[in-house]
């Protein structure tokens, strides 16, 4: 039963065992025996893994400069294309049902993403024509409840473009270049827009469901 094959296998595990320790690795190197390159366990809550730039976990909404200047125009394309249907958007409208505008753009009254449904596929980012939604790297999103706590609303989802540049420098540079080219294209005919003064829309407060409509 126990023969040469088993002993050879034992030899492999022995080398592996010796190579676990710094002294053992040194001994193996001196003896000229080929060891293996092990992986080191990362002690998770104390130390965190370094993720590559493209690591994706959960979407967030990008805003430029101030939180009311978000890029999303509530076009609902991501809501339609989302495979598990985890995005819920309600565009901001006045009493007559016309879209309200901030900085010359429509904006969402509510923008909710259900973390319990989202499957991190990144299709919302691919389909967004305004580069308004991007993937975040934060993965510590556990919650004690499974209802409101897992439904992330607009205020929780809003993050600045600087944050986006911080987590994905290469991708953000490409997005910025694309947006700059787009802005240049529409710069001349869109001179009549009167942007609302910054701060009139307290988008960060939870009661910001009916912001002042700017004269548009």
């Amino acid at each position: 039963m126990i023969g040469k094959g088993v002993l050879k296998g034992m030899w492999v595990t022995l080398l592996e065992f010796i190579g676990t320790y710094p002294l053992g690795r040194w001994v193996l190197r001196v003896l000229g025996v080929q060891g293996t390159s092990g992986l080191v366990t990362i002690q998770y809550p104390d130390a965190k893994q370094q993720h590559p730039e493209r690591f994706r976990y959960f979407p967030f909404l990008v805003y430029d400069d101030t939180p009311d200047n978000l890029r999303c125009v509530a076009c609902k394309i991501c809501e339609q294309e989302c495979p598990p249907k985890c995005i819920f958007i309600e565009p901001a409208r006045d009493e007559q049902g016309r879209p309200l505008k901030v900085h010359g753009r429509p904006f969402p009254k509510t923008f909710d993403i259900d973390t319990s449904i989202c499957m991190q596929c990144r299709i919302c980012v691919d389909v967004c024509p305004f580069d308004a939604i991007e993937m975040d790297k934060v993965y510590e999103m556990a919650s004690a409840g499974r209802d409101e706590e897992m439904l992330y609303n607009k205020d929780q989802l809003l993050k600045s473009n600087e944050y986006f540049k911080g987590i994905r420098p290469v991708e953000a540079a490409g997005v910025d270049a694309r947006l700059a080219a787009k802005a240049k294209k529409v710069a001349s005919p869109a001179a009549g827009d009167t942007p609302s003064p910054a701060g009139t829309v307290p988008a960060r407060s939870p009661a910001a469901t009916a912001p002042n409509p700017p004269a548009a």
Binding site: V12, R54, C121, I123
Partner: protein, 377 residues
């Protein structure tokens, strides 16, 4: 009291659905005579997620993240299967670089799958931990590559009709080259550990023999079929993607027992490494996705393939993975069907197990290499 004549009844044992040896939620309804298996009925469906019906109610592109979850060990292969079916349906071309990136990803997936399944097979045999951990260590390095390219280790959602979603990041090819160069060394170590081990040979040789004729009749595919000695590899037979450009052999087994299946997988990994080395050497520059493919990815709802049907099939690590699509001219498939290799290969389980001991059933199941996400869909 006089002892009556020994009258033994058959014993019915239900293995699973929460049994650790069943690789997920799968049940084997076995009837035993002593320890010998008299009958074995696979019971499946515990992980049914309505994948095909879901695919018929969303756009073609939206099915991609769901295909990741079919065989969650080889997400890239699943993506490629659907992408090839869609390309056939709509007559799309793939860019050169896109083709090469696909080959790299799919062959790396084969390494991941075969390494992991060998580890699991040994786990089922009772070599608890050691071979599996060695296997997972190497798998982890390849999953890091997937994460760098696609953003996710396992749910890659990377390959698209017309190419791949994003081009490779800087330094990816160097990282892949380092891993591919190191892999033969790992395989040597793995083989030293396992191939000649007398205990493994006693547990696996002449266990669960699948004769050639039965394998073909049961439409078994993949390493399971090749271990029985049938030379059938869709990469060679169909020559899909750009496989005809690469030089590689199709390793075959002799008698089709568990040991042959193990060894065919090891040899297949070595062939995959050859393909990877050639692809890494030849990979050209240029765009990773064709303009048409990029437009489809950007606006999936506008993609309306012409009326017709298509069957795209690839040699996934587990066997023939086919996607059958019927288009009625709208932006959603009229019919979307998956021919899952795990499911078809599992149908032959009883024939391989009959007459063996109950402990062997676990090993035989492990050697088929099933993933329940794909069996139940």
């Amino acid at each position: 009291m006089l002892s009556p004549a020994v009258e033994s009844d058959f014993l019915e044992v239900s293995l699973g659905p929460q049994h650790p040896s069943t690789h997920g939620v799968f049940r084997m309804q076995t009837v035993l005579d002593g320890e010998t298996i008299v009958s074995l009925k696979p019971v499946m469906g515990y992980l049914h997620r309505n994948h095909e019906q879901l695919g018929e109610q969303m756009t073609y592109i939206a099915s991609f993240p769901f295909t990741d979850r079919l065989d969650y060990f080889s997400a890239m292969s699943n993506n490629l299967g659907l992408a090839i079916a869609i390309e056939q349906l709509a007559g799309l071309d793939v860019t050169e670089r896109g083709q090469y990136i696909r080959i790299l990803m799919v062959e790396l997936t084969r390494l991941v799958n075969h390494t992991a399944v060998t580890g699991f097979l040994l786990n089922d045999m009772g070599a608890f931990g050691t071979p599996l951990l060695y296997a997972f260590r190497e798998r982890e390095k390849i999953l890091d590559l997937f994460e760098a390219a696609s953003g996710s280790r396992m749910m890659c959602n990377y390959i698209r009709p017309g190419g791949v979603r994003e081009d490779l990041p800087d330094g990816w090819l160097e990282g892949a080259k380092a891993i591919v160069d190191h892999y033969p060394q790992f395989l040597d170590q793995f083989e030293t550990l396992l191939t000649e081990n007398e205990i493994i040979r006693q547990r696996t040789q002449r266990v669960g023999v699948l004769p050639k004729e039965l394998a073909v009749n049961a439409s078994v595919t993949g390493p399971l079929l090749r271990a029985s000695g049938v030379d059938y590899d869709i990469r060679k037979v169909d020559g899909y993607a750009i496989y005809p450009r690469f030089k590689f052999k199709v390793p075959l087994g002799q008698i089709g027992d568990v040991y042959d299946r193990y060894y065919v997988r090891i040899l297949e990994m070595r062939e995959s490494l050859k393909i990877l080395q050639q692809a890494l050497k030849e990979i050209p520059g240029g765009p990773a996705i064709s303009p048409k493919g990029a437009a489809i990815g950007k606006a999936p709802r506008t993609f309306r393939p012409p009326k017709g049907e298509a069957y795209g099939r690839i040699e996934a690590p587990k066997g023939e993975l086919g996607f059958y699509l019927v288009s009625d001219g709208s932006n959603q498939p009229y019919r979307y069907h998956v021919r899952a290799p795990s499911f078809v290969n599992l149908t032959i389980l009883e024939d391989m197990c009959l007459g063996h001991k109950i402990a062997d059933a676990v090993v035989i199941l492990g050697s088929i290499d099933i993933v329940l996400g794909e069996v139940d869909r």
